[in-house]
Symmetry: C2
Subunit: 356 residues, 2 copies
């Protein structure tokens, strides 16, 4: 043992989905958008004032905060921007969940980064068990806690709760911060954004990585009352004044301003998802009513790990979580119609092979 080893903070990190370097694969494992970024954004990249790269970017990210505020008809003081929603959520855990010493509540089957953040910042937590239909139960969140967070739609289950459910949770949690993680909301769920004026303890978190086709830019944001946003900004400016780089800020503004492209590509993903649901159903897969850009599916007869391995052989990568209750499921991102057709062909081949 080294003399300094007891000085090191020991953590078990989150495991992100693979980012294989081969290009000729069908990549349905990290819920990226199959459509390219907004053409106005990529055009802007070509015209970027490169001399600005030698300067520090705007630490307050005013242009991007302003563009997001305009999109949602909010005031700039109600928007916080970070390096993807992971950065925003990490800062939320540190800012709002680390002080009380009480456990933060989140579902047992959910985004697996929540307990990683809780452990990183030594925040106690309780996982609230989803029911057998993989639904969140509002009553589980009535007890005293140090904060509440869940995704809507939930991930990896893909299903959504209505606003009345979120209001129920908020009514029972007026003394803590309640965070709705809406990474996938644009694909068919109802946003809790309409509740931020009524509930000053509500934060809604969204991202550019899914519906806005720019996971590679790393942009996420939180929306809520200005006191919460100011507290988040104080922590951000105590961590790193300049989290958002110049290309991200400039392209982020163009991306959010291109509403038509966003609506068009989102509608296409939704149409492909609904079509894929029918195909998977016909093949004997079961899944909840996904409102996201992925389907979380299990087959009635076949083992998920076997399907996963078979698809991988065919250069189709989906995501498998080796975790309690969900180890027989695959999370399949929605690609283009062509990619999903290739997936269906491969799944049919798998079935044939199993039955022969």
């Amino acid at each position: 043992m080294k003399p300094w080893e007891d000085k090191v903070r020991r953590v078990t990190p989150y495991t992100p989905g693979e980012q294989p370097k081969i290009k000729k694969i069908i990549k349905l494992n990290t819920n990226e958008n199959p459509y390219p970024p907004s053409p106005t954004a990529t055009k802007k990249l070509r015209e970027l004032d490169t001399d600005m790269l030698r300067r520090y970017p705007d630490p307050n990210v005013s242009d991007l905060v302003g563009a997001i505020a305009d999109f949602y008809k909010l005031d700039k003081s109600q928007v916080f921007v970070g390096v993807g929603s992971d950065d925003v959520l990490a800062m939320i855990f540190l800012t709002f969940f680390s002080e009380s010493g009480k456990p933060v509540f989140f579902p047992d089957i959910t985004y697996t980064f929540y307990d990683v953040w809780a452990n990183l910042f030594k925040i106690p937590f309780e996982r609230k068990v989803l029911n057998d239909n993989f639904e969140i139960c509002a009553e589980d969140y009535y007890e005293t806690n140090g904060g509440v967070i869940f995704p809507n739609p939930n991930a990896p289950t893909g299903t959504a709760v209505p606003l009345s459910f979120i209001e129920d949770v908020l009514e029972h949690n007026k003394d803590v911060i309640v965070v709705i993680d809406e990474a996938y909301v644009d694909f068919g769920a109802e946003s809790a954004l309409s509740l931020i004026d009524k509930y000053d303890n509500l934060l809604v978190v969204q991202t550019f990585s899914k519906s806005r086709s720019t996971a590679g830019l790393r942009i996420g944001y939180a929306m809520g009352n200005q006191e919460l946003i100011a507290a988040l900004n104080a922590v951000k400016h105590s961590y790193n004044s300049y989290t958002m780089n110049y290309p991200s800020i400039v392209l982020g503004v163009e991306t959010i301003n291109d509403r038509a492209y966003f609506e068009e590509t989102t509608a296409k993903v939704i149409a492909t998802r609904e079509n894929t649901k029918k195909e998977l159903e016909a093949l004997g897969y079961t899944f909840g009513d996904s409102k996201t850009n992925f389907i979380f599916a299990a087959h009635e007869e076949f083992d998920a790990k076997e399907i996963f391995a078979f698809l991988r052989e065919k250069a189709i990568i989906v995501r498998h979580f080796n975790a309690p209750r969900i180890s027989n499921y695959l999370r399949i991102s929605i690609g283009t119609d062509e990619e999903m057709a290739a997936l269906v062909v491969a799944l049919k081949e798998f079935e044939q092979q199993k039955r022969s």
Copy 2:
């Protein structure tokens, strides 16, 4: 008081130098490089594969880590990359200084973010007082502590210590992590990088923001033995898997690979600094022997705040810290020869006005 207010972590953030939006100013306040980024890097920006922006970037940042490792003839396992050296340093505070409960030591006059990070993560700290010549005293770092960090060259003083000084500190601190913050090292100080094989508790932190003309890309890095780097990566992957965005990774690789441009622009900044020293000396300013891209200067007769305000009127922005012991100093970044000539003209005007 709101019912949730006791749940909020309260911090006093770092105050970054201004980033005024007006372009027609001489900006000598945040130690940016006056020369544009490497032309090969900006060319690459125009050719960027924009479809990649819809994908998550490589969470391990292998290409950039590899390019930095190649530049310094290290193994990839000895390099950690973050969103500017502020991100790297924040993670270092969390990873290596937050466990022991003992105070981390750093100088009283130094980078003002150190105590902000310590407060953010509730790490006790002790500021070790520089001597009257604004020099760090090695003996101050002999006592039991929870970690040691100082910049070399120090900021905002601008002066450097030799490697023997750093070895002295390391010899007295084998049971903690010692961090040398080398943000400015390329402008004339000796890097401690040559010591990382001898001292497995040493981390050397550098940045692209100064000598590599790309503050707008947000790239910083730490170099040290692979166990330290692995611990940092575990914390990074417990915070945000994808901190580095796609444009930064691609342009970062090109930037570090262009060694000739880096050497040429660094030499120009050093030459301008040495010339500016002569000019300032002739005007009655005193300063240490800066090995950075700034000069930390005080005038024998005139008040720093008055000079600051006068320069501002002339659209020349320098940095003034309203802090004990240094409130009569100005930190003046090294710009182009033309910018420094304009500064000298303005300082002469100031003197004339004062004497008339």
